[in-house]
């Protein structure tokens, strides 16, 4: 644990010295927050809590980008091989990047909640405990997904390309930007297989205080399982050397990280409760001024 903590402190130090990190992790989420409040809520206080959940989701999911890029950069520059001759394990390096990312995510999450509460007149804090647990597990799980991307790609170009593809899916199919309730039925069912959906619906439900215990517990279990599998996969696929290429089996290992979400997707589709919950929450929120017109509410 000592080595992991030493590395964690180094990573936090390096991150705060990085202007790109400051922009993408602090400035951009705030731009999203102000933009979303201005554009989507149309002055309705009721929708602020929903927007807060969505913005928290975007902030937490951002972990995914930074960690994959940093790991590939370290590998390409030969930084990792220097650590390899020291008593440092792959687990130490991976865990430290996840923990450092978490500590760096918390201040912006707190700032977003406080801004919504006091600047945008959010009526309630929402379910803060659920938000805390979901932010913790979500930031760790999405960081671990980023580490898998770094493990299966050989160059920065490949990493950026895969990151972009996954990010688009996470962004637009999870309910983080467009409410899931206004999607066609088949797309709603498909969204239940996407990891980001569990984070987005969980945080939106917790921020609006509309999510039930069952839903939040499912989200927590899905993210915890996703984190565990993703960490183990990235540990197995970890490469120290710049010239070491990803083996063919790497893609199969990477696919294993999706197993928990496939299982939860099938289960949630069969039960149907989550989709009903999402539609019900949307109707409740639609009692306020609506930014979107739900097909179900017509």
């Amino acid at each position: 644990m000592g080595t992991t903590w030493t590395l964690t402190k180094m990573r936090i130090r390096l991150a705060v010295r990085n202007r790109a990190f400051f922009f993408f992790s602090f400035v951009m989420p705030l731009i999203f927050l102000f933009g979303a409040v201005a554009f989507f809520t149309k002055g309705s206080v009721g929708w602020i809590s929903y927007v807060l959940g969505a913005i928290l989701t975007l902030t937490v999911m951002g972990s995914f980008w930074g960690l994959s890029v940093q790991l590939v950069t370290f590998r390409e520059q030969g930084v990792l091989r220097r650590f390899r001759v020291a008593p440092v394990s792959a687990s130490d390096l991976l865990a430290s990047s996840i923990i450092a990312n978490y500590f760096l995510t918390i201040p912006i999450v707190v700032l977003e909640i406080v801004l919504c509460r006091y600047a945008f007149h959010l009526k309630s804090w929402g379910n803060l405990w659920a938000i805390f647990v979901l932010v913790t597990l979500g930031s760790a799980a999405f960081a671990a997904f980023g580490l898998i991307v770094a493990s299966v790609t050989n160059t920065m170009q490949e990493t950026q390309m895969i990151n972009n593809l996954l990010w688009m899916g996470f962004l637009f199919l999870s309910g983080a930007t467009i409410p899931l309730a206004i999607f066609p039925g088949w797309l709603q069912r498909f969204a239940l297989f996407i990891p980001a959906t569990y984070l987005a619906t969980g945080l939106e439900g917790s921020a609006t205080n509309l999510a039930g215990v069952r839903e939040i517990v499912t989200d927590i279990i899905a993210l915890a399982l996703g984190l565990w599998v993703a960490f183990e996969v990235s540990r197995q696929l970890f490469r120290w050397e710049p010239e070491a290429k990803a083996p063919r089996r790497a893609k199969i290992w990477a696919a294993a990280a999706l197993v928990p979400f496939i299982v939860f997707g099938v289960w949630e589709n069969m039960a149907g409760t989550r989709i009903r919950q999402i539609q019900r929450d949307y109707k409740v929120l639609s009692g306020h001024t609506m930014p979107f017109q739900s097909p179900q509410s017509k």
Partner: protein, 306 residues
């Protein structure tokens, strides 16, 4: 003599079709500075990276401090220090932070301030790694290799690409390690480095050790010859130089004729006469006492840096 601190027996390593290491065997005693001297691609880095636990040997026996580098994990790493040939640190890590960071990984740790002073990095202790010169980066790499007061230090081409002055600074540091009885395994393709710094040298070529001994012993193997380097106005007729009195070997490298002679005065007189008879003109003549380069040329027929 006790158990060697580094033991390598019949080491083999291939990368696809390339047979990089072909049965290398040597051992290093505690407190010795041992050099692996050879041209690029000779198998030096592969050997040292197997010893550091960075690569897996295909076959052969490797022991460092009595431990198998691959199987012993952190226990092994606690005992070694390394300057790798190709490595880096995060751009925005400061010099002192880098030393402290690595020191924190080990059970035994040297005093950071002492290391900064020893490696003349005190003034640069707050500088980012990205702002250091090549020499400063290398001094930092050496300081980091010693943060755990290691039993064995691996230095893989520690002066490659550095200017002569910085190289001399690094030599002084290695000489200091030698005085402190630190065991050092050094790889290099610089003759001067091997001759000046190493107690014993193994000359490596095409993945094999082709000669081993103290620099003095190896130079004696150059048959006690003197190297004479000659340039003439026009090319010399084939075979004439090798028949000169005292000449045991004659080769041409990029317009310079290199003769090895056991009787230098007689050879020079005969050389001048031979050139006169050819109506050729002597442009330059230099004499060198035997070096490890001569040993390498004698054994392989090539220059070290060809």
């Amino acid at each position: 003599m006790g158990q060697p601190i580094i033991q390598v027996e019949n080491l083999q390593k291939t990368y696809g079709a390339v047979h990089a290491v072909r049965g290398i065997t040597f051992s290093v005693e505690a407190g010795e500075v041992f050099g692996l001297l050879g041209p690029n691609g000779a198998g030096k880095t592969s050997t040292v990276e197997i010893l550091e636990g960075l690569r897996t040997a295909d076959s052969g026996l490797v022991r460092v401090c009595g431990l198998d580098p691959e199987a012993s994990g952190n226990e092994f790493k606690q005992n070694i220090g390394a300057v790798l040939q190709s490595t880096s640190l995060p751009d925005k890590l400061r010099v002192k932070e880098a030393i402290d960071l690595f020191a924190d990984f080990y059970k035994r740790r040297a005093d950071t301030r002492q290391l900064l002073k020893q490696f003349q990095l005190e003034e640069k202790q707050s500088a980012y790694y990205m702002h250091l010169s090549g020499g400063q980066k290398q001094r930092l790499a050496l300081a980091m290799a010693l943060v755990n007061d290691p039993k064995v230090v691996f230095l893989d081409e520690p002066t490659a690409g550095l200017d002569p002055q910085v190289r001399r600074e690094i030599y002084a540091i290695i000489e200091q390690l030698r005085r402190e009885n630190t065991t050092v395994l050094l790889t290099t393709h610089y003759i001067e480095e091997a001759e000046r710094l190493c107690d014993r040298v193994a000359i490596v070529d095409h993945g094999k050790v082709i000669a081993m001994g103290t620099p003095r012993e190896l130079k004696h193997r150059a048959a006690g010859t003197t190297r004479i380097e000659v340039r003439s106005a026009r090319p010399v007729v084939d075979g004439i130089l090798s028949r000169l009195e005292g000449v045991s070997d004659s080769r041409e490298f990029e317009g310079t004729y290199v003769l090895h002679s056991s009787q230098p005065p007689q050879t020079i007189v005969a050389l001048v006469k031979a050139l006169e008879q050819e109506n050729n003109e002597l442009q330059s003549l230099e004499m060198f006492s035997p070096s490890l380069e001569d040993v390498f040329i004698e054994l392989t027929g090539r220059h070290l840096r060809e």
